[in-house]
């Protein structure tokens, strides 16, 4: 039974779907990284993803355009981000708790919209696989890395891109300054409010894409509460990755590979209690937090509302 898992075809299958399943984690967690780098803890990711997921599916299903669906998800996510930004930046609300409010809102609202506008579960044609010429022909590697859909490629490109923006650009410097020492940033003329609005809305838009990647690229269906905790894991991945996009990537791959393995175990009918296996990444996240607390410091102003001293 176990030997079935070790055959080349199955191994390649596990790795390929592991790469694919990392997509929603990456979009959501990198969006969250921007927010946290600027000092805002957004716990509403799950709700933003659910609404984005529904918007993408509904629009794509009715217009036949996947790109319009993706755009709808981005707009819905950004709108949720805007509301979150107003509540956290202008009204200086306690971020952990208000995030739970946004989560419940997205959970209920996506269910409500689904029932009123669709009613039954439909399937759709998602983003097709794009075979990278040349590279996709490499045995094994080609199937794992270079035969994925466009949202998967986008997610992996986002890692170096966000790393570059955060570390090498003026914007990134401002974001980090606002997250580390908003008073100093403010006194140097950086608008703390504007930067935080930007990062929270960007995070919302990326969460929207994360949701869309589920409904129109990976599973090609919308169901109530289909994210089932993915958005919360994305928040944890930011801690896991030590507020670095590359660290987030390793965490995302860990979760997605375990999920993929567990799916294949079920498909092959191997009698291993999959619940215990699925539990492991969560346990590991806590262990990584314990190990990294002494090495990696969170942004100093994380989850603290900014108030100019007058």
């Amino acid at each position: 039974m176990i030997s079935e898992l070790l055959s080349a075809t199955v191994l390649i299958g596990i790795l390929a779907s592991g790469i694919r399943l990392a997509t929603p984690y990456l979009y959501a967690a990198i969006g969250e990284t921007f927010g946290q780098k600027s000092g805002v803890l957004n716990l509403g990711v799950e709700g933003q993803m659910l609404l984005g997921s529904f918007a993408a599916f509904y629009v794509a299903f009715n217009t036949g355009s996947l790109w319009l669906g993706l755009l709808a998800a981005i707009l819905v996510g950004a709108a949720m981000g805007l509301a979150m930004a107003y509540v956290t930046v202008n009204l200086r609300a306690q971020q952990g708790i208000s995030g739970i409010g946004f989560y419940l809102f997205g959970l209920g609202m996506s269910e409500l919209l689904f029932q009123i506008l669709m009613g039954t579960v439909e399937t759709a044609q998602g983003f097709p696989k794009v075979y990278i010429p040349g590279l996709s022909d490499i045995p094994g590697i080609g199937e794992i890395f270079f035969s994925q859909n466009v949202l998967v490629y986008g997610a992996f490109l986002l890692v170096p891109l966000s790393s570059f923006v955060l570390n090498k650009t003026t914007l990134g410097l401002k974001i980090r300054a606002v997250g580390e020492n908003p008073d100093a940033a403010d006194s140097l003329g950086v608008s703390v409010a504007r930067i935080r609005y930007f990062t929270i809305i960007l995070g919302g838009a990326l969460s929207g894409i994360a949701g869309a990647s589920l409904s129109i690229a990976l599973l090609n269906v919308f169901q109530q509460n289909m994210t089932s905790g993915l958005g919360f894991i994305a928040v944890a991945l930011v801690y896991f990755g030590g507020w670095k996009p590359l660290g987030v990537l390793w965490g995302a791959l860990l979760f997605s590979m375990v999920n993929s393995l567990q799916l294949w175990i079920q498909v092959l009918g191997i009698p291993i209690p999959s619940d215990i296996a699925v539990m492991m990444p969560y346990v590991l996240t806590i262990l990584v937090l314990i190990a990294s607390v002494s090495r990696v410091r969170s942004p100093s102003a994380l989850s603290k509302p900014f108030e100019r001293e007058s």
Binding site: L41, L43, G47, A83, V87, L91, R92, A93, Q94, G96, I97, S98, I100, G101, F102, Y103, L104, F105, G106, L107, G108, M109, S110, E111, L112, L113, F114, Q115, I116, L117, Q224, G229, F232, I233, V235, A236, Y239, P273, D275, I276, V278, M279, Y282, V283, T285, I286, L289, I290, V293, S294, S298
Partner: protein, 373 residues
């Protein structure tokens, strides 16, 4: 030139200043009420925007949860677990420990209580007087362990409790899934066999023979556990030295430290107590309502609703009882109301509006003349 004209025209403007005095007693409840009205209004706008009828939906919620004694009893059944999870959240929030893990602690409490019956720890033929106390102890203990863990990690390693409690929520769900599927399954289904009658919390309906008015009423002994817990928590928070320390740490950790209060130790104790209360809620739910271990009805979001209720009740244990009944009504109505997303969406909007409305407690909004500055 243009600028000076602008200045003159904008004669009045809104000015915000930090509130230095303590607002009068009637002010915070009024602000909360205003936040709820605003939330219901926003929710109504959204419902009508997607083609529903908000007034009808709200009227339906009210009828389906308070319409007669039968549904009122069901409302109280839904309120019971919320009372306990909200108490759990309130005591942690009082110390500004953001325990998002009442959900997982509740689930582990349910598992612990179920293990007493299913392992079995108490032999099948035992009486209710043996079953119920042992189940309470097991539920409280497992919940306390699930609260102790993030508390200890926070105190010892400074691990963010929001993230650790979130992770523990999922671990709890998979843990219960594993047991109901692999160990205690009934015929391959993801649920355990039904508990023997002696492991059920007594219900009003059980006394239907003696008191006819109680016939068919589902309200169970968990309500009494919830009320006792609320009174105990009230005494601890407002009348004990320990409660004073907890409040002091929450209001001003630096002052608490100067006063010699041990923050590390209190972090662990308060998280364990918080978990214990949620765990008691889980015990009450399996022994009073579900009568078996099954993941979906236990992991139904009571831990998250507890967060809202605790906040709405301004962390006051006695107020929590009444607010829980309102939210029990909302959840109960959600089972029949179509479309079913409305109650959760409304809960979310209420929580966001409530958190945002705290702004009005911390700042004074004044309308002043523009020239003053």
């Amino acid at each position: 030139m243009a600028e000076s004209v602008m200045k003159k025209r904008a004669g009045w403007r809104v000015k915000l200043e930090p509130r230095l005095d303590v607002p009068p007693a009637w002010y915070p409840p009024l602000v909360s009420l205003g936040a709820i009205v605003l939330a219901l209004f926003l929710g109504g706008l959204l419902i009508s925007a997607v083609g529903g009828n908000p007034l009808k939906s709200y009227a339906h919620i009210a009828r389906a949860s308070f319409g007669n004694i039968g549904v009122l009893s069901d409302t109280i059944v839904k309120a019971t677990p919320i009372i306990l999870t909200a108490l759990a959240c309130s005591i942690a929030f009082r110390m500004k420990l953001w325990n998002i893990g009442a959900e997982g602690q509740f689930i582990m409490g349910a598992w612990g209580a179920s293990a007493v019956v299913l392992a079995p720890i108490v032999p099948a033929g035992a009486s209710r007087w043996v079953f119920i106390p042992v189940m309470i102890i097991a539920g409280v203990a497992l919940g306390a362990v699930w609260g102790f863990l993030p508390g200890y990690l926070k105190a010892k390693f400074n691990v963010n409790e929001i993230i650790s409690t979130l992770m523990l929520n999922y671990i709890a769900i998979f843990w219960v899934n594993y047991w109901v599927f692999a160990v205690w399954t009934e015929g391959g289904f993801q649920m355990s066999p039904k508990f023997p009658d002696a492991a059920w919390l007594p219900r009003l309906a059980d006394y239907g023979k003696q008191i006819t008015a109680f016939r068919g009423l589902t309200t169970h002994g968990g309500l009494i556990l919830g009320i006792i817990a609320a009174v105990v928590v009230w005494f601890v928070i407002y009348r004990s030295r320990w409660g004073y320390e907890i409040r002091l740490i929450g209001d001003n950790p630096h002052a608490a430290e100067y006063a010699g209060v041990n923050i590390t130790r209190n972090t662990v104790y308060v998280m364990a107590l918080s978990g214990a209360l949620a765990g008691l809620g889980g015990m009450s739910e399996v022994a009073g309502v579900i009568h078996r271990l099954q993941t979906a009805p236990i992991a139904a979001g009571y831990g998250f609703t507890g967060i809202i209720v605790a906040w709405l009740a301004k962390l006051n244990p006695i107020v929590i009882i009444f607010v829980s009944v309102l939210f029990g009504a909302l959840i109960l109505a959600g089972r029949e109301i179509q479309p079913s997303g409305i109650p959760k969406m409304i809960q979310g909007i209420i929580l966001v509006c409530l958190i945002a409305s705290d702004y009005l407690l911390r700042y004074r909004v004044r309308i002043v003349k523009g020239e003053e500055e």
